[in-house]
């Protein structure tokens, strides 16, 4: 894209810093950042981690207890009044409302943080890690805890050591429930021996390998990381006992991580060539530490970070740089973030990334200096564009490539949304100023001219939001 001549290189860097590393420019932001674009990014890296969305502060433990209480009530109702309709007490309706309200409050708070933050890079970095360790609301049992999971396990640790982030996410009740770990029982454990004498009619009593497999395939070494089916099963055995406290347990255990020695598979385990003595709860922790330090993990994550921030097919030099920073620092995520900011490949002026629906909506709110006021501003367009709030389709998280998000149908829906949005917000805004403030040096002459020539403010704003440069970062 040819750059207008009065723009200095700092103006170009500011536009890249705020739109590619960050979540888009708010009015006036580019001018401030242009003083020192790299410094602006580096200053956002801090040991305390990411910012926290302003929510009511309901913990995941409280949410899990509430959900379980509802399940119990539902079972009792089924026994008590089978076949009868009890208006207003239909447990399915109550559950639906719980899910709607819980996730809606969390999601709206997160979107408002993203729309208003002055540290857009820090927020994008947090969103990257939340997506890496996906807990999706598509499962009923985890529908209310996707938000608290992110606040409790992810956000405080995104600039700490990867090992700590991995262990915190794996031990979190939301992850243990999402990937079926909470109910996994070692086949040679005391609990299994008891169950074989007195089998329960409704499940329980055996090994589940889901979490072990996804940690290997998605969270750490990656699908080509060199593990076998036997490694998955051995890791799953080591993880047995990692569970979530139930309603009948002591209050300080309910909805929290617990270790159940009775369901833990006794004995030493061998995973990816290393042997782990039975240290009960600590056995799986030892495996997680080794996986965090594995060279394949550094490679897998370096590539994934580069793909998220820079290009669907990232420059190999950038991947090597991030991998080297990861290895040299022992997986210090602050050091990796700094390496990303300092990598020349990350500042290529061609915007190679197509915004996901969430990024598109958030950057639109930022462009007008506003923020969404209700979940209704977010959920319907995100559903239509295929990115339902907190509901990634699988543990792999949201896909990040243009090929996925730029389907013809999706482009039409973005256009429709841009028109609806503009109709509501355009009011007295000056679209020409907004275009300059949102894109700065990245605004092309044809788009500037089309915005200026539009026949209404609504049309002008729609053109800006749908322009090739606004759709990318």
């Amino acid at each position: 894209m040819p750059l207008p001549s009065p723009m200095s290189s700092n103006d170009v860097s500011a536009a890249i810093a705020v739109t590619r590393f960050g979540l888009g420019a708010r009015p006036g932001e580019l001018a401030r950042v242009a003083r020192d674009p790299r410094g602006w990014l580096l200053d956002q890296i801090r040991p305390a981690g990411a910012d926290q969305p302003q929510v009511g502060g309901e913990s995941s433990a409280a949410r899990i207890q509430a959900f379980r209480a509802y399940q119990t009530e539902r079972r009792e109702m089924r026994r008590g009044e089978a076949g009868e309709d009890a208006p207003g007490r239909d447990p399915v309706q109550i559950a639906a409302r719980m899910l709607r309200e819980g996730t809606a409050v969390d999601f709206l708070a997160r979107a408002r943080l993203a729309a208003t933050t002055h540290a857009g890079f820090r927020e994008r970095w947090a969103l990257f890690w939340a997506n890496h360790f996906t807990v999706s609301a598509v499962k009923l049992v985890t529908a209310t805890v996707a938000g608290p999971f992110e606040q409790e396990a992810i956000r405080p640790r995104v600039f700490g050591r990867f090992e700590d982030l991995l262990i915190a996410s794996t031990m979190h009740p939301a992850m243990l429930l999402y990937l079926d770990q909470a109910q996994s029982v070692g086949p040679g454990s005391r609990a299994a021996a008891m169950l074989s004498r007195r089998p329960r009619p409704n499940g329980g009593g055996g090994l589940n390998e889901n979490l072990a497999r996804e940690i290997l395939e998605l969270h750490t070494v990656g699908v080509d990381g060199g593990y076998s089916q036997a490694d998955v099963t051995e890791f799953a055995r080591a993880l047995t006992g990692w569970s979530v406290g139930g309603l009948r347990e002591a209050e300080d255990r309910q909805g929290r991580f617990v270790f159940r020695v009775a369901t833990h598979e006794p004995g030493a385990r061998k995973v990816m060539g290393r042997t782990y003595r039975d240290g009960e709860a600590m056995q799986a922790g030892g495996i997680l530490k080794d996986l965090a330090a594995h060279p394949a993990t550094a490679r897998h994550l370096a590539r994934k970070i580069a793909r998220h921030f820079v290009a669907d097919d990232p420059p190999p030099a950038l991947v090597s740089r991030l991998e080297a920073a990861w290895t040299a620092s022992g997986g210090d995520l602050a050091a990796v973030a700094r390496a990303l900011v300092e990598a020349p490949e990350a500042w290529d002026p061609t915007p190679a990334k197509f915004k996901t629906p969430y990024e598109f909506l958030i950057s639109s709110w930022r462009a007008i200096g506003g923020q969404p006021g209700a979940i209704e501003h977010l959920a319907p367009p995100l559903n239509a564009l295929g990115q339902r709030p907190f509901s990634a389709p699988s543990p792999k998280g949201w896909d990040e490539t243009a090929a996925t998000w730029a389907a013809p149908d999706a482009v039409i829906k973005r256009m429709t949304w841009a028109e609806d949005f503009s109709a509501v917000v355009a009011g007295e805004l000056d679209p020409n100023t907004i275009a300059r403030d949102a894109l700065g040096a990245r605004l092309s002459e044809p788009v500037r001219a089309a915005v200026a020539r539009a026949e209404s403010r609504q049309e002008a704003l729609s053109i800006l939001l749908m322009s090739p440069e606004f759709q990318r970062r």
Partner: protein, 410 residues
């Protein structure tokens, strides 16, 4: 639900409200002459569908023992032959099977053995012999290889799935309407996108498809929906069935149009049943009810064109033969594929049944695959869609000369 509720907006909000994760995609090409009438629909069951529950081998002596409380009881299963039956949720498919218009391949798998959803789906959709073998989808390459084609591609869905990606251009559509907007905006954006290789073609095809969707919605044969009484979980399931049937009928409406798609792919999520999968009723049964409703919607919607249609239902891999410790099943290998359509030749199961004897299980845990899924697709693409063997062995399924097309399907 009345007929007017099955509008695009109505379908979308109903599906979203249910948490139904059904994605749709498709491709259209139109060949000349006789081949121009032929239709093919691929349904991908994402998440690894449990073949041993979808088409339970209730006559296999080891079935009930391996499966425990998730075994489909023989007296509930819908009988196909001495060994096989269908899950009771697949009543519509069973009706077609009795007429020779539905068959099962009970022990198929693609070439990948890693038991990773994402890797196996990539291999299934790309048609490659190994993971990351190619970055385009085999249906897209099949379109390129179709004789005397006039490409008019259609992909239905909010995101573009791998199976359809590639050189042949794709449009897309999903339930959910575009509202009223400025009539000038598409033209202005078209100009701004003139040199944009991503957004330019996407916008152009999206606009064409909008026009087509409007016609399909007018013409679609809306089926009689289930009554919306008796709330609760059962009401949700009935509503889900009505939505799935409506979507099947809508896609059929697309296909019946003058320039409608000849090849369509639909994906249905939610088959990863690690825990509490249920037996004749339960979690998996509900997914199968939706699948059955979707297929019946297609069948009814295609009406007279059903006789020229083949539908293939496939999944990335199967699940463990044994019930796991949490009332579910873990990632396995062989599973069931379904073939449906009026173009199908009647016959028994497709491929050999390896049995569930301990010595026959793959790695001691999974249904042993006896048929390569690519061979099944090759058979349909060759004998129904008119592709030649050389294109199938090289362009469509690279390095697959050793994989024979299954003969005699149509």
């Amino acid at each position: 639900m009345t007929r007017t509720d099955l509008s695009r907006r109505g379908l979308l909000s109903a599906a979203a409200g249910l948490g139904l994760s059904i994605g749709f995609m498709g491709h259209a090409a139109r060949a000349d002459g006789d081949l121009g009438r032929k239709k093919m629909v691929t349904v991908i069951a994402r998440g690894a569908m449990d073949g041993l529950s979808a088409s339970p081998p209730v006559g296999d002596p080891d079935y009930a023992g391996l499966r425990g409380r998730i075994a489909i009881p023989a007296d509930r299963a819908l009988k196909l032959d001495a060994t096989f039956a269908l899950h009771p949720a697949l009543a519509g498919v069973h009706g077609l099977a009795l007429k020779g218009q539905a068959r099962i391949a009970p022990a198929v798998a693609g070439p990948d053995r890693a038991r990773s959803h994402f890797e196996a789906q990539d291999v299934l959709e790309s048609g490659a012999a190994v993971v990351y073998g190619t970055s385009s989808g085999f249906l897209n390459r099949a379109l390129e290889a179709m004789p005397a084609r006039k490409i008019e591609a259609l992909s239905v869905g909010a995101t573009a799935p791998l199976i359809l990606r590639g050189k042949a251009p794709a449009a897309s559509w999903s339930p959910g309407a575009a509202g009223e907007g400025s009539p000038r905006l598409p033209g202005i954006l078209g100009d701004l996108y003139a040199n944009d290789p991503l957004l330019g073609p996407a916008l152009a095809r999206g606009l064409q498809t909008e026009a087509m969707a409007a016609m399909a919605m007018q013409d679609m044969a809306a089926p009689a929906p289930a009554p919306m009484t008796g709330g609760g979980a059962q009401g949700f399931v009935r509503q889900g069935q009505a939505v799935a049937r409506g979507i099947g009928a809508t896609v059929a409406g697309f296909m019946r149009q003058e320039n409608g798609p000849q090849i369509v792919a639909i994906s249905v999520d939610g088959w990863d049943t690690h825990a509490n999968q249920g037996a004749a009723e339960g979690q998996l049964a509900n997914r199968l009810l939706y699948l059955d409703a979707l297929l019946m919607g297609l069948h009814e919607g295609l009406a007279a064109d059903w006789k020229d249609t083949v539908v293939v239902v496939a999944t990335e891999f199967g699940r463990t033969a044994r019930i796991n410790g949490t009332g579910g099943t873990d990632h396995g290998t062989g599973s069931t594929a379904f073939l449906l359509g009026g173009a199908l030749k009647p016959g028994g199961i497709i491929g050999d049944w390896p049995t569930l004897k301990a010595s026959a299980l793959f790695e001691g845990r999974d249904t042993r695959p006896t048929l390569d899924l690519r061979g099944l697709f090759k058979g349909v693409l060759r004998d129904h869609m008119g592709l030649d063997r050389r294109a199938l062995d090289t362009a469509v399924f690279p390095d697959s000369a050793g994989v024979e097309p299954v003969s005699g399907l149509v």
